[in-house]
């Protein structure tokens, strides 16, 4: 430990970094413990320094991360407004664009709205959001532009913008989905569903929010998840509840209250909502890659195509927990070998590889 210079004044104490850490962060430090009991004068100094810190602390306004997020969002939207102004100023350009769109309307229509009845893809240009609706009987995989993956359950709808904004990622859910969110500490990820806002940075969790049900449920698989009430019902209630892995919460839509479940296993009803993907930890030890592929096919309801001969004798040891599907595939390709890549096309994954070496 580096030697402290002789402390005689309270100002030296206050400004001393290791002293600050000792008091404020309860960092273990024998130097300061000895110092404090060395003399009555020292003990008095330490007391006064503590008072100083307490005063600073009392003076500081306490903000939740969410309030800071809101300020950043409002700043960002002001910057956006200015961009819009600039765009509006070139009114003629807008007219010209409009004319072109009208003239070639049918062409664009065919291009963006393929006449394919099996596809549930639909865009909503009015709000600039992409809407994905799952009318089938099986979960549907959606990958977002930030690398996150979402398993959208039957009778559910997910809306999101193609490109996320600069300060946050937002999606809107009606129904049920399992989220695996890519990590990005600069851009929090928000799921809006009925009266509940789910706030994460990079985690996996399930949200169940059907309009006809009396409750919204959020179940955490990995990472940390924060929940709060939507501004729609209470603009000023910014209280958040925090959920850790294996925890869950119910939001009673009538009472407008959260109920936290500390152990999912102890709540039979909540436990019954879990599917295979909620439970599997994605840790594979010396496992044939073909077997990992069939696990992924099963969990994400998609097909993986690869040349059987090339990958037959590949064994992989890896942990794929807490990462979205695209990241999982990247890690797997990397573990197979340098010349392995994947393509995600609709609900089909194509693995290109000349085998493991």
């Amino acid at each position: 430990m580096k030697k402290e210079k002789t402390i005689v004044n309270i100002e030296d104490l206050i400004q001393n970094e290791s002293f600050r850490n000792w008091i404020l962060n309860n960092e273990y430090n024998t130097y300061w413990e000895d110092f404090a009991i060395d003399s009555a004068k020292n003990a008095h100094l330490v007391e006064r320094a503590k008072t100083f810190f307490l005063t600073f602390n009392a003076f500081e306004e306490k903000f939740s991360d969410f309030e800071v997020e809101e300020q950043l969002y409002s700043l960002k939207s002001k910057l956006d407004v200015d961009f819009h102004k600039k765009r509006r100023s070139s009114f003629r350009l807008v007219l010209a664009t409009l004319a072109i769109v009208l003239i070639s309307g049918s062409f664009f229509f065919n291009k963006f709205y393929p006449a394919d009845n099996t596809s549930n893809y639909n865009t909503s240009p009015a709000e600039g959001l992409i809407e994905q609706i799952n009318n089938s009987n099986a979960p549907k995989l959606i990958t977002l532009s930030d690398g996150s993956s979402v398993l959208l359950q039957p009778k559910s709808k997910l809306s999101y913008s193609n490109e996320f904004d600069i300060v946050k990622r937002e999606v809107f859910l009606e129904g049920e989905a399992f989220f695996e969110v890519s990590k990005n500490q600069y851009k929090p990820f928000f799921v809006y569903s009925n009266e509940v806002v789910t706030h994460v940075y990079g985690t996996s969790f399930r949200v169940i929010a059907f309009d006809e049900l009396d409750e919204v449920k959020v179940i955490v698989k990995t990472g940390k998840v924060k929940l709060r009430k939507s501004n729609i019902i209470d603009k000023y209630d910014l209280n958040e509840i925090t959920l850790l892995p294996n925890q869950a919460a119910r939001f009673d839509r009538n009472e407008k209250l959260f109920d936290k479940v500390i152990q999912i296993e102890e709540d039979k009803q909540m436990e019954s909502d879990l599917t295979k993907i909620d439970k599997l930890n994605f840790v594979f030890v010396d496992t044939p890659i073909t077997q990992i592929f069939s696990t992924i096919e099963d969990l994400y309801h998609l097909r993986i195509e690869f040349t059987q001969d090339n990958l037959e004798n590949c064994f992989v040891t890896t942990s794929l927990s807490d990462v979205p599907l695209p990241e999982k595939l990247k890690i797997l390709c990397f573990s197979i070998g340098d010349n392995t890549t994947y393509e995600l096309v609709g609900n089909k994954i194509i693995i290109n590889s000349d085998g493991c070496k």
Partner: protein, 189 residues
């Protein structure tokens, strides 16, 4: 440790200048709370504080190409914020003569604000707060930046637009006063 933090900030600052939105968000998030609390030294009007922070960062983003890449980020941001806030306070108070002297400086702290369990600690905090509030305005600012926010004398000079030597004098004088007054308070007990 502080050195590393400065270095990271400087890198972020350069990223902002080259148009990196993530760096911009990150700097905003790490400065929002410190600036807000610094603002509370001059006004209890929270909306004016928030507006000043917003204006400052709007300027940074819109005029990022003209920002100096080699500044001391901390003092630049604190100083810029103080300017914005003073302008707004002056505008609101309808005082024709603009100047720093129109702005009141004080540590406003009420009994309710203090979330401390121990009653004796709470009283100590109120006493110290009272002593701090009796300091002349410039000394309050210097004390706040030096001991609350950890700025060094050079940075404080930059933020308050005064010279290095007067920062040193203010620090010296305020410490003398604090020491004397706390002794008196202690004797009363």
């Amino acid at each position: 440790m502080d050195f590393n933090k400065n270095l990271v900030e400087l890198l972020f600052w350069k990223d902002i200048i080259s148009g990196d939105e993530a760096a911009f968000s990150s700097i905003f998030k790490s400065y929002y709370k410190p600036l807000f609390n610094f603002g509370k030294l001059y006004t209890s009007d929270k909306s004016i504080i928030n507006d000043s922070i917003q204006d400052l960062f709007m300027d940074f983003w819109e005029k990022r190409k003209n920002l100096n890449p080699d500044v001391d980020v901390k003092s630049y941001i604190f100083g810029g914020f103080r300017n914005k806030l003073f302008k707004k306070i002056n505008q609101r108070s309808f005082i024709k003569q603009f100047g720093d002297d129109n702005v009141k400086v004080g540590f406003e702290l009420s009994y309710e604000d203090i979330e401390i369990e121990k009653e004796s600690d709470k009283l100590k905090v109120l006493k110290l707060n009272k002593i701090l509030n009796q300091l002349p305005p410039k000394q309050k600012e210097v004390i706040y930046l030096k001991f609350f926010k950890g700025l060094d004398n050079e940075q404080i000079a930059e933020v308050l637009k005064i010279n290095y030597q007067s920062v040193k004098n203010h620090v010296y004088r305020s410490i003398l006063v604090l020491r004397e007054k706390s002794k008196k308070e202690d004797h009363k007990n």
